[in-house]
């Protein structure tokens, strides 16, 4: 880890990066023996994870109380346990509870998607948007607004999801075209290239259609405000699918961190693992982005924060990310409701909370590489 160069950020040196990770972390094949030798560690990790989970729960509860109308915590708990028809209970039931659930679901979806992308591509700069999700979704929105005259988040949420899925599929086809095993550098470059083309077309169209531009600037920023409760069920389904896929690929991720050749030698099906991971990222990032907008920075920074607590094992890192990312998003949402009159969008606050954390992490002595 004392390596003076950013080896891990360098896909061209993937072998060196793998060797470094193997040295610093635990290779998957010996994962069980390592934990057997060191029984205190998983327990401590689990306890810390539960603490963060508790923090998330408290934050969610708190988010039900805070807003343009302050509601006492006792009333909040009442509304959850014994709901009645009072105005306060109606606010909580119809607007704040769906919003809190949306924050938890979208936050962990974006976080996990980011963690999966970073691990799979072995690139610390990767974020959920890198595989074309944001560009695909925003182009679809521009087309929906500019061509079909559809207005409002809740009307074009399916357009956004469809655009995101199509874009990621295209990135996959380009990035893997003909290659025997998918090279992560090619995948990243394909994502960047296709994302750029789509966003270029999107920007050009938006500059021709002012109404689309108007909608797009509001969507891009990312917010939990004004989203209909109807998106929750599809989002929850997507998150469930994504989590299951992510759980299945945890061990392969550890192997992929060692480099493709080593992973193949250890008997992992590298190509299949990548397809599964990509599928998970598409579903998670696509659904979350369609629901709350392009808050992809959350997916970039949450895994860096999680790695600080979890160590290099991808499975723990995924678990920590799943809890820490929604903590950041909910915190951003709550703060955004109170720091200025009106509301500051969660996407903006998220960047202003997350970025200093990322900078402090980066200034620590040893940067934890991917």
């Amino acid at each position: 880890m004392a390596s003076p160069t950013p080896v891990a950020a360098n896909p061209e040196n993937s072998q060196a990066s793998g060797a470094m990770n193997a040295h610093a972390g635990m290779p998957p094949a010996t994962g069980s023996t390592a934990s057997a030798k060191n029984p205190g560690k998983p327990v401590r990790r689990l306890a810390l994870l539960l603490c963060f989970g508790l923090l998330l729960g408290l934050l969610a509860l708190f988010s039900l109380a805070v807003g343009s109308k302050h509601i006492e915590l006792s009333v909040v708990i009442d509304a959850l346990l014994q709901p009645n028809d009072s105005a306060d209970h109606a606010i909580i039931r119809d607007s704040r509870l769906p919003r809190a659930i949306l924050g938890v679901l979208a936050g962990s979806a974006l976080g996990i998607a980011g963690a999966l992308v970073q691990s799979m591509t072995r690139n610390a700069l990767a974020e959920p948007g890198i595989l074309g999700v944001n560009a695909g979704a925003s182009l679809a929105i521009v087309i929906a607004v500019g061509t079909f005259g559809i207005n409002g988040f809740n009307s074009y949420v399916w357009f956004a999801f469809g655009g995101a899925v199509l874009a990621t599929g295209a990135v996959y086809l380009v990035g893997m075209a003909g290659a025997r095993s998918s090279d992560p550098v090619r995948l990243v470059l394909a994502g960047v290239a296709l994302g750029a083309v789509l966003s270029g077309i999107g920007t050009a169209l938006a500059l021709v259609h002012p109404s689309a531009f108007d909608q797009l600037r509001a969507w891009t920023i990312g917010s939990l405000e004004g989203r209909s409760g109807e998106v929750l069920v599809p989002l929850a389904a997507a998150v469930l699918v994504g989590f299951v896929l992510a759980a299945f690929t945890g061990r392969s991720l550890n192997a992929l961190a060692l480099g493709d050749d080593t992973a193949l030698a250890l008997g992992y099906k590298v190509g299949r693992a990548r397809v599964l991971i990509l599928l998970a990222v598409t579903v998670l990032a696509g659904a979350a982005t369609a629901a709350v907008g392009a808050i992809s920075f959350l997916g970039l920074m949450a895994p860096h924060l999680a790695r600080r607590f979890s160590g290099p094992d991808a499975r723990w890192m995924l678990a920590y990310t799943a809890v820490l990312a929604p903590v950041i998003l909910l915190l951003a949402d709550v703060l955004g409701r109170v720091i200025i009159p009106g509301e500051l969008e969660a996407g903006v606050v998220c960047a202003f909370i997350g970025a200093p954390v990322l900078i402090v992490l980066a200034r620590r002595k040893k940067p934890v590489a991917v």
């Binding site: 003076p4 960047v192 750029a196 021709v208 970039l300 980066a362």
Partner: protein, 347 residues
């Protein structure tokens, strides 16, 4: 080192062949870039053929045609060539220093900071061309300095630079989006055009100061390319080879930021040239490391070709050139990638 290098180039045939390929590549790319520049000069409301343009440049032509070519259209073509080369080199330097194909001057926040500065100038003081340029320059440089000092901790670890850069950029990007969201729609759209990067309305008065900055800095950076190759070997190896790592890296970063800032102040943060030009050049050059000269030629070609498209495709509506660079550069990169994929399958 410098004394034995030319000899080595002659005695090692592999290296000579590689340099030969690189020279040929640079010549072809430059020739294409100049051709496109002449086409840019020839296109517009008063179209001129290629022969006529060359004739006017060589001193022929009527008074009006001279004015059109030299005063109206030449600045734009020259700007495209110079800015493209500057951005290509800056991108190559950053991708090499960070060893990341996603590396570009953007990662230390320059473009985002420049956009913030320009947005503030546009929304607060109403944004003349000069105010926007100065705002962009101030915003970009302040951001780059902030990132560098925040990342400094007994040496500028490349990975730390990246993370701090991402963090600062993310905050500024959020601020930019917020400014765009709160602004009147006309101001917001003008800002978006600037933010995409545009060469519309570039004239000699703003171009000449930029050129005075770009040309010598470009020369210095190309001369410093040798250190870049050694830094690519890793800090320890570079030190062993006699490179003073920190000063060398700092100088390269400063040069690359100067190149980006000169181009950005005049034309806005033209997207993607810095990112894609070095990658394209590298794939065509087939050299192991990042080479600066091909990246410069590729950047110039990419920007000037994009500008031609931006002027013509929806004429008379002038698109910002940045919208076209992302599309052309992206499509070309996709094509190269899929061609590589097919080649890998055959092998």
């Amino acid at each position: 080192m410098s004394a034995e290098a030319p000899g080595a180039a002659v005695t090692v045939p592999g290296r000579a062949r590689r340099l030969g390929r690189e020279t040929a590549l640079c010549l072809v790319l430059s020739a294409l870039a100049v051709l496109f520049a002449l086409l840019v000069v020839g296109s517009g409301d008063y179209p001129m053929g290629l022969g006529k343009v060359i004739n006017v440049i060589l001193g022929g032509g009527e008074g009006l045609e001279g004015t059109i070519v030299f005063q109206w259209r030449a600045p734009r073509a020259v700007a495209a060539l110079a800015f493209g080369a500057a951005l290509g080199v800056a991108g190559a330097v950053f991708q090499s220093l960070t060893r990341n194909p996603l590396g570009s001057p953007d990662i230390i926040g320059f473009s985002t900071g420049a956009y913030t500065g320009a947005l503030l100038a546009l929304t607060l003081v109403g944004g003349s061309f000069l105010a926007t340029s100065l705002g962009a320059l101030a915003g970009g440089l302040a951001t780059a300095l902030t990132v560098y000092f925040l990342a400094w901790r007994r040496g500028s670890h490349g990975f730390r630079l990246i993370l701090v850069g991402i963090g600062v950029s993310a905050m500024l990007a959020a601020l930019n989006q917020w400014l765009v969201l709160r602004a009147e729609i006309e101001v917001a759209m003008a800002a978006a055009v600037w933010g995409a990067g545009t060469l519309n309305g570039v004239g000699w008065p703003v171009l000449i100061p930029a050129l005075i900055a770009i040309v010598p800095v470009l020369g210095l950076t190309l001369a410093g390319g040798r250190n870049l190759g050694m830094l690519e070997l890793g800090d320890d190896t570079a030190t062993a080879l006699g490179v003073r790592v920190e000063p060398a890296r700092l100088v390269l970063i400063v040069l690359a930021v100067l190149l980006t800032s000169a181009a950005t102040a005049v034309a806005g943060p033209i997207a993607f040239v810095a990112l894609v030009a070095p990658q394209l050049a590298k794939r065509l050059n087939r050299a192991a490391g990042m080479r600066l000269a091909p990246a410069a030629c590729m950047g110039a070609l990419l920007l000037v070709a994009s500008d031609l498209v931006a002027q013509r495709v929806f004429a008379p509506v002038q698109l910002p050139v940045g919208v076209v660079t992302v599309s052309i550069g992206g499509i070309y990169l996709i094509w190269l990638l899929s061609r590589e994929g097919r080649a890998a399958k055959r092998a």
